[in-house]
């Protein structure tokens, strides 16, 4: 069964090329032109993924995320104009899975869609792998051990916790708030500089060139993403 994607987008030209590229990739899709229609279609058709534009004619696309998250964890990938970090953070904090900035290359969009579908599939299986590997790094979530190039690496408890959260959401952007909340608890969500220092330390321990990280990537103004492939 081909995955069904709901495209909520008001611009006809963008819908046109999305239609072409999604069809070529073998996805089924539905289109909605407004936020209201998008929310209705999401409920009626229960798609496998929603591709959501934030600038919609009737309501803010954020409303769609809020509405859908009340009853479903279906992946939502947001498409937003460049330079609107506030909107991106708001969308992610509301539960969007990822975002792509306009203008975007189709390859990037398809990669995000695939990653989001994969995450939702593995979450459904519930039996995610005990050992996660990316690059030269191996994280054993059961034994709580981390190896780089086969060598044991010592992480502090907070470093490990942070890595664990990232490993649980491979390829997903996690906002600073989400990470702080998961690692330090809900009372420390404003102290982002701790987070940055810990990320820097993790990079020094895990990345071969911490100044050009391959895996622990920063999304400027938004948060972090663990890139597991490539």
């Amino acid at each position: 069964m081909k995955p069904l994607i709901l495209v909520v987008e008001d611009d006809p030209q963008i819908r046109r090329f999305l239609r072409a590229t999604l069809a070529a990739e073998g996805y089924q899709f539905h289109e909605a032109l407004t936020a209201q229609e998008g929310a209705a279609q999401a409920a009626a058709r229960t798609p496998d993924l929603i591709l959501l534009d934030l600038g919609l004619p009737d309501h803010d696309g954020l409303e769609v995320i809020r509405g859908v998250r009340e009853w479903s964890q279906m992946p939502i990938v947001v498409v937003s104009a460049r330079g609107q970090e506030k909107d991106k953070i708001a969308a992610l904090d509301l539960g969007a899975d990822d975002y792509v900035g306009k203008p975007f290359a189709v390859g990037e969009l398809l990669a995000r869609i695939r990653a989001a579908l994969r995450r939702s599939a593995s979450a459904a299986q519930d039996g995610s792998d005990v050992v996660s590997r990316f690059g030269k790094v191996e994280v054993d979530l059961e034994k709580r051990r981390v190896k780089v190039d086969g060598q044991d690496v010592h992480l502090t408890p907070n470093e490990y916790k942070l890595l664990q959260v990232l490993v649980h959401h491979p390829g997903k952007v996690l906002t600073q708030r989400q990470l702080l909340n998961e690692v330090w608890g809900p009372n420390h969500t404003e102290q982002a500089q701790y987070l940055r220092v810990y990320v820097a330390q993790l990079r020094r321990k895990l990345e071969s060139d911490p100044a050009r990280p391959r895996h622990l990537q920063t999304e400027p103004g938004v948060g972090y993403r663990l890139v597991v492939d490539g």
Binding site: G83, A105, Q193, R196, A211, R212, Q217, T218, G221
Partner: protein, 513 residues
């Protein structure tokens, strides 16, 4: 100096005010009184002195009158004295008859001496008064021209002149400025003057006709104040309103004269500031126009070129897609996507520049510089392909208090600049160092470096380096400059020893909380 220059241009056709009436009556009374006193003294001395010597008492009286009163009054005193001398001091007493005709000679001599005293004293007195007056005038006008020369705005010039005029003339003075061809009581330097339709009409009339009007003048004599036009060289720039006090001292001819000079100088100064402002506005406008047109030509060229490639490639594909060999099709598709990317970068830069210029709010926090540089390198992965990038970021670097998105953009632009202006395959270095006050970030390349005098210009908008074949709008470094400045930092362009460019950003550490 100034006073003399002003005097020559004073108008003479103004109606002269009717002044001095009250003071002259007083002078005559005083003259009569002094002659009376002389007579009393003469009567007291009459038993002891010869009548000819009593004439001296009267002459002294005339001197006194001449000193204190007007010339006319002292002439009257002269005649009165001769008459009184004849009546009281020359026998037979209490008649105008004269027993000895040689007294007629005494009378004649006495009259001539008295009249000479009268005129000479009056002249000396007038000269002294004039000298004092002149000095005061010169001083007042000197102060006026000095204060006016410091003013750059027409309203300030008017207010300064009004304040000084109040000091000099010891009476309320208000300057009125026109607003769209009408004298506006709203544009006045103070509100000491009664606002009424009569006053406004008088001021407007003066503005329209360029002649004085108001109290004790030919026109609008019913108003409380009188108005003097502020006549510049080419037009009337306003109206000076003077509210005379009860004694009406400002109506004295020399005061009126001084007021005219005052008004004249003020008008010229106001006109000067007006034309200066106009010139300044025109200059700014020209500059803005110039910038706008250079922006337009730069932007339209840079927007059109990629658009032309996209349109051309897309239309070729649509019209002849079938006939084209697959490699050509692929090439055209690549050019569409490359040019679209270029267009996207340009639009992004323009948006960034606009945002920075309109003064955006920084969203600052503490960040490791390493993270910001790392993100920038990641974003620049494609353009940097085939380049060796050497990063030197000591672990001991303090966190920097910055807007991460903007600072990331700055680093990206510096890297883009290095890629553009250095030969493919040469290494690019990114280094950072810190001292107690600041963190310094440098991006170095092995390109041609900067031409002499170019080091500053590279940060100007739409400035492009001389290298051939480099495309771009000339906004990248201008954006870097704007971002560095927004963080209270600096950016400089240097030539590197051994060839190449260094762009050095310095961010002060005062920000760290």
């Amino acid at each position: 100096m100034d006073a003399a220059a002003g005097e020559t241009s004073v108008e003479t056709d103004d109606p002269q005010p009717r002044a001095r009436d009250t003071s002259s009556t007083r002078d005559y009374l005083l003259a009569i009184g002094i002659v009376g006193i002389s007579t009393l003294v003469a009567l007291a001395l009459r038993p002891h002195l010869a009548p000819v010597n009593l004439a001296m008492v009267y002459l002294l009286g005339v001197v006194a009158v001449a000193w204190r009163c007007s010339q006319a009054a002292s002439v009257v005193a002269s005649f009165l004295s001769v008459a009184a001398f004849d009546f009281f001091c020359v026998p037979p007493y209490l008649t105008f008859q004269v027993s000895d005709y040689e007294y007629l000679f005494t009378f004649a001599g006495m009259l001539v001496v008295a009249l000479v005293i009268s005129t000479q004293t009056a002249r000396i007195r007038a000269q002294a008064a004039h000298a004092i007056d002149r000095e005061a005038r010169t001083k007042a006008l000197y102060r006026l021209s000095r204060r006016l020369s410091a003013q750059t705005r027409v309203f300030d010039a008017a207010r300064t002149a009004a304040e000084l005029a109040e000091e000099v003339f010891e009476t309320p003075v208000v300057m009125f400025l026109p607003d769209k061809g009408k004298i506006s009581f709203r544009r006045r330097t103070s509100d000491q003057l009664l606002v009424s339709s009569t006053e406004e009409a008088a001021a407007q009339w003066v503005f329209d006709h360029g002649r004085k009007a108001g109290k004790r003048m030919d026109a609008f004599s019913g108003s409380a104040a009188f108005y003097i036009p502020l006549k510049g060289a080419t037009r009337i720039v306003g109206v000076m309103g003077v509210l005379p006090d009860a004694e009406g001292r400002v109506f004295a001819p020399e005061q009126q004269n001084l007021l005219d000079v005052f008004a004249n100088q003020t008008a010229l100064a106001m006109e000067r500031t007006l034309s200066q402002n106009a010139a300044e506005t025109a200059r700014l406008q020209m500059q803005t126009e110039e910038m706008r047109s250079s922006l337009l030509s730069a932007v339209s060229h840079d927007l059109r070129t990629p658009l032309a490639s996209i349109t051309g490639a897309a239309s070729t594909l649509r019209a002849q897609g079938e006939k084209l060999p697959p490699e050509t099709r692929q090439e055209l598709l690549e050019s569409i996507s490359d040019e679209a990317e270029r267009l996207g970068r340009l639009v992004g830069n323009l948006l960034d520049m606009t945002r920075l210029e309109t003064g955006i709010e920084l969203r600052r926090d503490l960040y490791p510089l390493e993270e910001i540089v790392g993100t920038a390198l990641q974003r620049m992965e494609k353009p940097l392909a085939g380049r060796q990038v050497i990063t030197e970021l000591p672990e001991s670097l303090p966190l920097v208090y910055v807007d991460d998105v903007l600072l990331g953009q700055l680093v990206v632009n510096l890297l883009e600049n290095a890629v553009k202006y250095s030969p493919a395959g040469t290494a690019i270095e990114v280094t950072a160092a810190a001292n107690d006050n600041a963190v310094t970030l440098e991006v170095r390349d092995r390109g041609a470096g900067f031409a002499e005098g170019e080091e500053q210009r590279v940060f100007e908008k739409f400035y492009r380096g001389k290298s051939d074949g480099v495309r771009g709008a000339g906004l990248g470094l201008a954006i870097c400059h704007a971002i560095a400045t927004a963080h209270r930092g600096t950016i400089e362009a240097l030539n590197r020893s051994g060839g190449g460019a260094i762009l050095r950003v310095r961010l002060p550490l005062e920000n760290a909380r």
